[in-house]
Symmetry: D3
Subunit: 106 residues, 6 copies
């Protein structure tokens, strides 16, 4: 971030705040961030939101239903990304101290 100008910094600031609790809960918002990243097929973005979903206590079934919406909206081109989601999810579940979502898209 050493090169980031004022507009870039402001954008990152909004990017953090938009997922905070409000009329909708942070958990719901992270699922929205996940499904948006899925239909746009950005693996780094997907993984960031997946970690946040785990931190927010998303269940297997909630995750599956969210991915199913992304699959139907975005089509078969989302399939490779969905496979990587489940591999990462399994990995997170097997490791007690899953990585913290502090360094976005890091």
């Amino acid at each position: 971030m050493k090169y980031a100008g004022i507009n870039t910094k402001r954008f990152h600031n909004i990017d953090r705040q938009v997922y905070n609790d409000g009329a909708l809960k942070s958990k719901t918002k992270e699922l929205m961030g996940l499904v948006s990243s899925l239909v746009l097929r950005c693996d780094d973005c997907i993984m960031y939101h997946l970690i946040r979903c785990r931190e927010e206590g998303v269940s297997d079934k909630e995750l599956e239903e969210t991915l199913a919406i992304g699959l139907i909206v975005g089509g078969s081109i989302t399939i490779p990304h969905i496979r990587r989601v489940w591999d990462a999810w399994d990995n997170m579940k097997q490791n007690y101290n899953f990585p913290k979502g502090k360094n976005k898209y890091g």
Copy 2:
């Protein structure tokens, strides 16, 4: 739909069921359908899900927070679509009998 083959019909069938109540509520799923359609910038899809969101009792503030996520994820190219969402939303609120979401993307 008179030309629709078996695979197309099956797809439409899944497309209806994926937003049904489950581990996540239909309301949450329709908001996910909305934000996915927004970042992919499909106006017809957005309008379908917007009607469904209204039917599910989504509030102004819940809608705004959902659109803000789409705006941050998808960038300024989503702005024209967000303007059209609010115009349609205002219109729905002023008309008691808003159109039913039966004929998808009709």
Copy 3:
């Protein structure tokens, strides 16, 4: 095209030739142009290739199977475009002298 520079003109020239008969027939290539335009959701491009498909004698069933591939690959966001394809196709079939595909994307 009065503003078109040399590179733009050259591009348009390739754009015409790439659908000509070769190892694959022009009909197959126009179906490929159609499905590509569908998953990228460009209505003007879709309509151009649809006219060319009609000129090449594509059948209802061949069209349906092509659109089904686009639907599965591209997801439900392609549905509004597929509806417009069938409306236009019906219209072409009812009018003996369907428009010629000379003026691309015109």
Copy 4:
């Protein structure tokens, strides 16, 4: 904008400032906004930046070379949008008082 929350307002604020004069001139930045909007195929965004380009004194030739880059990067699916650019450009040139770019994507 009556529904816009704090994050949305902040985004719009950045969206205005990012095209201001800096190490690169506003004219160059508007051309970048134009070519980005073209490859993402957002007509409203394209038209906003086209008006700004005219305000910044972009020449026919500078516009053509910019669109040619968008055409090569984004492919033939950009062609319908490029046609609409030139129609709007001709219209702007024939009307002395072209519309001011105040109401973004309005």
Copy 5:
């Protein structure tokens, strides 16, 4: 697939059947799957369909003409993917027992 719900399983089922022989041959449909994956720039999807194209007996020239359509429709951003297609194609030709396309996007 251990997490896959009913809708996801149904989608995968359609995804298999849509490329089967019908009014159009499976070979033509796989070329359509390939060009769609190319313009959407999904490497895993491209590789899956490339293997299927090889199984269906697609020739070098048929492949080249298909990729040329994708290149013109999708623009220069498809170039890196096309390079990877030819590298994989050469590799398939040099190895008699090329991988079977059973595990989709695996």
Copy 6:
């Protein structure tokens, strides 16, 4: 390129010429190629244009302002690509003989 047909070769030829000096300088055009590649999220394309930008003498601040436009237009899904840009830029600056941009997307 051994498989490239005549249309593919012609496309590559245009792809080279469209960034040459004209009404706009090559440096400006490479920045346009960069921002277009960024909003379309093609890492190989981004890296090609980044090398060309370095060859054209683009400054840190010019690069930052260009990336900020891409970030605002394309949204948070561009963030992982922007991170990779800065890592590559730092690497180029530390190595006197940075790679020449001869082999496009190579």
